[in-house]
């Protein structure tokens, strides 16, 4: 018995010792994470005979732009054996889980908040932007969208995403030039300021006995509705969107923006509480039931297609319908707001509406084996010619000022809005993912208020609006910090 117990003890002790000895790490010292060596990845020497996997957005693929881009790049860099191909992945990429195992793309095109969330784990590469040909043509605010908390720049801006107003010119009142153009500048007042848009929408609704509407939009949508708060001093996070401890939805006089939302709901119907309008806005604007709506510039062709069908149904030929659609569908900058925050106050000073926006662009995965070739691709894709072609095919608003200036019109105006700070670039830190549900719920609650009985209304006074904003801010704070 003693022999066996001794043998078992020796066996197990030997096993434990071996496990302990061979389990010791070869090296445990922490590396210095200084940032100086990062840019040394970009030596300027192209890696030869490599294949770059590029992740583009679905619209660019569907409209054929991406194929053109790949073809042009591959021809240009054929002598180095560099081939760019479609990464053939879902555009809702998960680089932090796919990249380390070699499944991610080398170059990715996404919105700034999507790209910048990867900076925490160093999944994307800081870039030597001064070496890029687009560098001098991009506004500081556009670069700011890709500037990390460490001061490094992680993406190359391509296009600006910001809401614009869509309206039907042929649905303007016949006498608008005499009755709805107080400043005689040739732009209808309802397109210039929300006060007149409110009045005109009310008029349309009353005259049509509720069968037609003026401005219509799903008002719970945080992306489009939070701009009303920003216009009166609200913000998402402090320190240029980098300090998630400082939640600013209730800052300044943002309650006035919430009041504007409540008033806008009163000229609509209950469809504004959920996403019904978002789904039907193209068809309803085309049928003339809506006069105006707001969305991003890249859906212009969806409106045109619906309008063409509508005009054809009214008896116009295909060519006439197309011509009429392009003539009557107008995109315009978002109207100005009354400083008082009251859409019935015709005498108030007006202030620009600051809308939430984003900047889509290219970034390079930190896991790429060919950083210099990847940088060459990003440089090529952001050249003047390629951005021009992207604008022509996709209708994007280029972030490059030379492209924007040449394109003119709304493109130039949106760029100017970005430079003037009238576009609030969506924060690029990971915590931004926590704002949508709490703030969206508050907006849905506020815009439902006009449809509640008087006894059940929750947001009548400024104090109640402020309380709602504070509550939503607390929920955002809790979502970010409670369990950190």
């Amino acid at each position: 018995m003693v022999k066996i117990i001794s043998a078992i003890t020796v066996h197990l002790l030997a096993l434990i010792l071996l496990l302990y000895w061979f389990g010791k790490p070869a090296q445990t010292a922490q590396e210095d994470f200084g940032f100086e060596p990062i840019l040394t990845k970009f030596t300027g020497e192209l890696e030869a005979n490599v294949t770059l996997r590029v992740l583009e957005n679905d619209t660019a693929i569907k409209q054929g732009f991406f194929e053109e881009l790949l073809q042009a790049f591959n021809e240009e860099y054929a002598e180095y054996g560099i081939v760019a191909v479609d990464a053939n992945m879902d555009q809702y990429l998960d680089l932090e889980n796919d990249g380390p195992y070699g499944f991610g793309p080398d170059v990715l095109y996404q919105a700034n908040d999507q790209i910048m969330k990867y900076t925490d784990g160093q999944h994307i590469q800081p870039l030597p932007i001064r070496e890029l040909n687009c560098y001098p043509y991009l506004d500081e605010n556009a670069w700011q969208a890709y500037t990390g908390t460490d001061g490094q720049i992680y993406g190359i801006p391509v296009n600006i995403q910001a809401p614009v107003l869509y309206y039907r010119k042929d649905l303007l009142p016949a006498n608008w030039e005499t009755e709805w153009d107080k400043n005689n500048n040739g732009i209808p007042d309802m397109i210039e300021n929300w006060t007149d848009m409110y009045a005109y929408s009310m008029q349309i609704r009353e005259e049509s006995l509720g069968s037609r509407y003026g401005y219509m939009k799903s008002l719970w949508d945080v992306y489009f509705a939070s701009g009303y708060l920003f216009s009166y001093g609200g913000y998402v996070f402090g320190d240029n969107g980098n300090d998630a401890q400082d939640i600013g939805f209730a800052a300044g006089e943002s309650y006035k923006g919430l009041h504007v939302l409540r008033q806008l709901a009163s000229i609509m119907n209950e469809d504004c509480i959920d996403d019904t309008i978002t789904k039907i806005q193209y068809a309803k604007l085309a049928s003339g039931e809506f006069f105006a709506s707001m969305t991003t510039p890249d859906v212009y062709t969806l409106y045109i297609n619906e309008l063409v069908l509508s005009y054809q149904a009214e008896g116009l030929s295909a060519g006439e319908a197309m011509e009429a659609a392009y003539e009557n569908l107008i995109t315009a900058p978002v109207p100005y707001l009354p400083a008082s925050g009251d859409l019935t106050d015709q005498n108030s000073e007006t202030i620009p509406t600051i809308m939430m926006g984003g900047v889509n662009g290219y970034a390079i995965s930190a896991y790429t084996k060919a950083p210099n070739a990847a940088l060459a691709f990003a440089d090529f894709a952001t050249s003047y010619e390629m951005i021009k072609r992207r604008h022509e095919l996709l209708g994007i608003v280029p972030a490059r000022m030379d492209n924007a200036s040449d394109a003119g019109g709304l493109t130039d105006i949106v760029n100017a809005n970005l430079s003037e700070g009238n576009i609030y670039i969506m924060p690029s830190i990971r915590a931004v993912a926590q704002i949508w549900t709490p703030v969206g719920t508050l907006f849905a609650d506020v815009v439902k208020d006009p449809f509640r009985s008087l006894a059940e209304q929750k947001f009548i006074s400024d104090e109640q609006l402020i309380e709602g904003l504070l509550r939503a801010s607390t929920q955002v704070y809790d979502a970010i910090w409670t369990l950190q």
Binding site: L19, T276, I280, A366
Partner: protein, 432 residues
Amino acid sequence: MLEAIKKGGIQVALSALFMGLGQLCQRQVGKGLTYLFLHISALWFFLRYGAVMLRGFITLGERRANPTLNIEGDNSVVMLIMGLFAIIVLIGYLLLYAANIKDAYNTQTLIAAGKKPLRFSAELKSLADKNFYRSALFLPILGVCVFSVIPIVFMILVAFTDFGGNTVPPELVSWTGMDSFFRILTLQQFAPTFFMILNWNVIWAVCATALNYFGGLGLALLLNKKCVKGKLIWRAFPILAFAIPGFINLLAFKFMFSYGGPLNQMIINAGYSPIGFLDLDAKWMARIIGLLINAWLAIPSSMLLAAGILSNMSKDFSEAAKIDGASAFQIFRAITLPFVLFATVPVLISQFIMNFNNFGIFFFLRGGLYIDGYFLASDTDLLINWLYNLTIDNNYYSIGAAVSVVIFIITSIISLTVYVLSPSYRQEDQFK
């Protein structure tokens, strides 16, 4: 094993020291070499990989990666999984070690009794005959360990770490003990929401299971009646709802109940104001709509189950009861229901668990709302929806895992209690 330790001789001691030595000394060359080979293989695995895996399991990483600097580091999550794998291999090794000692002792006993131990080839043959269950079960058990045990244990282990939030690879994860569980119960915002949702979750699971079960049974009884014409067609209709993927049905229902949906259009056309069937004020209305939609989706399967069982029920009992003057309800309560219940309690329990963890209904019908008084949840969310909000939306994996463990404990207790108290368990022979 104890007997082997107490009474074993030198051969057993040799096998205890190094697997297979005792067998070799007892002239069991084939078996001895096999044990020796397995011992050396296990040692090679542990020295080459296992030791590092086990250390990684304990530390969860000591070196942070930085891909932008091409610095490779430790991935805590991978280390946790691989450590778990090494532990399973270690347990397997220890079981093999014990079997080796026992085998050496059995051989020693046989030789001492003057008997001849089985040849190795004969023992191998027995794996296809007397011990066939061992060879047949080996692969399934291995499969269960890899595909079932490891993921479940991994999920449970995550509850004891700080994985989630900002602590995701390449950041290093640490063990935090029971911290996640204490947080669920003690955090000011967390505990009230947990108990409010748990309360609604239990009500939901009981009501949904009862509604689906009795709805299905009622429909089956109805379609079992001789007077019903065109039974095949009537049976086909509910199955259509069952055949269409659930989430498509749910999205269709969401549209139907939305402000722009057909129901509200009819209400508006009738001259009334639209109703927010599922909006943020619609607490109980949304809950009842959820129950009814769930019944629409689940009753067909209950109906099919009940119809199958009813077709096996002898009509003698009910006819005898009829002759004795029993009413239709008395026959149902005293004969039909116990018969169906006896056969379906295990299914009923599984339906209860499925309803308790019914993620899709309120995710598709009423997702994206945080209601006042609830912490990152709405008043229709079930624990599983809250779990999703906490983990996927907010990346709190460790808290999510802790909530999963709590859900598992609750459903296990309820299921076991119901099963033990049910006629299926207590009166097993009654309907045989």
